[in-house]
């Protein structure tokens, strides 16, 4: 079986609408098994980028490559191993989810002997088995989005392009989509996902690319980003089961190796800055637990990414 590294690459990718430049010489290469969040304010060029990579719009200049194939001159090869969900697609209203998935399965060349099984699995994954034979035209926006998401799971794609995939879903649906993305990560897929929800990116992505005014501002691992742009350290949020962290305890925490600052956000949550990597993070957790302060949550701070995001956007204005 063929073995290689999936990749997507934008080379001086530009999209102009009359006098408006939606994408401005975007250079970005992503490869390997990871989830990359694509962040930026409204109108930054996120959806435009994903639309060019999925042949929904044409570039003005530059190249959009998937697995080294140009999307526009060699679309079938470029998208052969890709599943994409851009905005909120509509499905022919008189078709059922099973039929709608069958079109995609056939277009993508899912072998006929496993096609039905793949469709059933995809329907199961998005909890739409009970609706499999009802016409899509009667579905709510959230239900349609579930079918759309199911369509991205059909051919076990190497690369998944998602444009705000939780848009239109209720909180349960949003949570399920995030779990699905995490599961795809476990299967060693390359996921490129635009979102304006920083917490979502923090939750599921390994790396983030920030874009504004059609230009790439930065692309790096999230931990590196928060470290580089938050005064030389990464930021953690620690939660405690009961409000028993007094000043003495905070002083003790500050003395833990690699921690540069510690401040209470409220009576149960503490914000820590530290210098180090994932191993350092594990050591800090171990030390905190040994202090018997009732630690009940420990995560990289989403507000740290928010700070990075806002700083970069501000600098770019």
């Amino acid at each position: 079986m063929a073995s290689s590294v999936p990749s997507i690459e934008a080379i001086r990718l530009t999209k102009e609408y009359n006098s408006f430049t939606a994408l401005d010489n975007l250079n970005l290469r992503i490869e390997g098994a990871k989830c990359v969040g694509f962040l930026g304010p409204n109108g930054a060029g996120k959806t435009t980028t994903l639309k060019i990579f999925t042949d929904l719009i044409h570039r003005s200049s530059g190249k959009a490559l998937i697995n080294e194939f140009d999307v526009h001159s060699d679309k079938k090869k470029a998208l052969a191993a890709v599943a994409a969900l851009v905005e909120t697609p509509e499905i022919y209203p008189s078709l059922t989810p099973r039929e709608a998935l069958m079109i995609i399965a056939k277009h993508r060349g899912v072998p006929s002997d496993i096609r039905n099984k793949k469709i059933e699995e995809a329907l199961h994954e998005v909890h739409m088995e009970d609706w499999a034979n009802k016409k899509v035209g009667k579905f709510s926006k959230g239900m349609k989005q579930r079918v759309n998401i199911a369509s991205t799971l059909l051919n076990d794609p190497e690369i998944i392009l998602l444009d705000e995939p939780t848009s239109g879903l209720d909180p349960r649906g949003m949570s399920e989509v995030r779990e699905m993305v995490k599961n795809l990560k476990k299967r060693k897929r390359l996921i490129f996902m635009s979102s304006h929800l920083l917490s979502e990116v923090m939750d599921v992505c390994d790396e983030a690319a920030l874009i504004d005014h059609g230009k790439l501002l930065v692309y790096d691992a999230i931990q590196n980003l928060t470290s580089r742009f938050s005064g030389g350290g990464s930021v953690l949020e620690v939660g405690f089961a009961s409000p028993r962290v007094d000043n003495e305890a905070i002083e003790t925490i500050r003395k833990i190796h690699a921690i540069t600052s510690a401040e209470m956000l409220d009576e149960r949550n503490l914000r820590l800055k530290f210098v180090g990597n994932a191993d350092t993070q594990a050591e800090i957790l171990s030390e905190l637990v040994s202090l018997n302060l009732g630690v009940n949550s420990f995560k990289t701070s989403s507000s740290a990414l928010e700070d990075v995001y806002l700083n970069l956007i501000k600098e770019n204005v």
Partner: protein, 288 residues
């Protein structure tokens, strides 16, 4: 600040590629046609069109029964010339409006293109697949009208059906090609169904029909570049007095009738030209 296009720690791992082989573009046309046709068969518009054709047929049937026009009932040829020859071109145009006018624009307006396009399938395959489905839906509608025609003819003439009706039926099916070509082309030019349907309906129902006599009258020349002129072979082949001459002088002015090869050529050229233009437009348009 570092503005880099490569992550600092790209994690490179081996992958097991999915064992999918993307079908040929021809096979994908078939897939698209299959589901588009299913969509048409389940659509209200398909049954509305059949109802319109049934209404036309029943109306003519009633008029024949009540008034018993001697000319029309003088021979099977005269009967089918009126029943079929005067109406079928309108029926073909209606199929173009029902199954072609918004076929492509709907991909933009109703956002179904967002579901289909981000797949390893060419836009031209989607276009052609949709076109094939529209052709079969249209052919069923024309076949339905032919069945009503023959059923009424059987009342008066039994099984005596002139072979020219068969010719005319084949020409009518052939006429679907350019009609869908034109309607798909117009549909590709718009991202709004209302405009697309309106322009198609005006052009097919009125535009061509007014252009032909106007050009002939003003220029006294053969309107060989008008689609409906070529489609004149469909009723002409059923003319009770035989196929009309190419040029006929009537009251000092010349009337032109396309010969059968000329009519087929005009329809074929329209079909090819408009289909190429339609595919080209669909390939170029952005889904903004």
């Amino acid at each position: 600040m570092c503005i880099c296009g490569l992550a600092a720690n790209p994690e490179v791992q081996n992958f097991e590629r999915a064992n999918n082989t993307v079908p040929t573009s021809l096979a994908q046309c078939g897939v698209q046609a299959q589901f588009e046709f299913l969509n048409y068969l389940r659509s209200t518009r398909f049954y509305i069109l059949l109802a319109i054709m049934a209404t036309i047929g029943i109306t003519i049937m009633a008029v024949m029964y009540v008034y018993k026009p001697s000319t029309s009932l003088s021979s099977p040829m005269a009967f089918y010339s009126v029943w079929w020859g005067t109406i079928v071109n309108l029926c073909v145009i209606l199929t173009g409006i029902f199954f072609g006018a918004d076929a492509i624009s709907t991909e933009f307006q109703n956002r179904t293109g967002y579901y289909l396009l981000p797949n390893p399938v060419r836009r031209s395959s989607i276009f052609i697949g949709k076109w094939i489905a529209s052709f079969f839906a249209s052919a069923i509608a024309i076949g339905f009208y032919a069945a009503i025609t023959i059923a009424d003819g059987a009342i008066y003439f039994g099984s005596s059906i002139p072979y020219q009706l068969g010719e005319s039926f084949v020409f009518a099916l052939f006429y679907i090609l350019p009609i869908l070509g034109v309607s798909f082309f117009i549909s590709s030019a718009f991202k709004n169904n209302s405009y697309s349907i309106l322009v198609t309906a005006i052009l097919l129902l009125f535009g061509f029909n007014y252009i032909t006599p106007l050009i002939t009258a003003l220029s006294n020349s053969e309107p060989w570049y008008v689609l409906t002129y070529g489609a004149g072979i469909i009723p002409n082949v059923l003319s009770p007095s035989g196929y009309p001459d190419h040029q006929v002088m009537i009251a000092g002015s010349t009337s032109y009738y396309a010969t059968i090869p000329e009519g087929l050529a005009i329809m074929f050229i329209y079909f090819v030209a408009t289909t190429i233009l339609g595919i080209t437009l669909f390939e170029k348009n952005d889904f903004n």
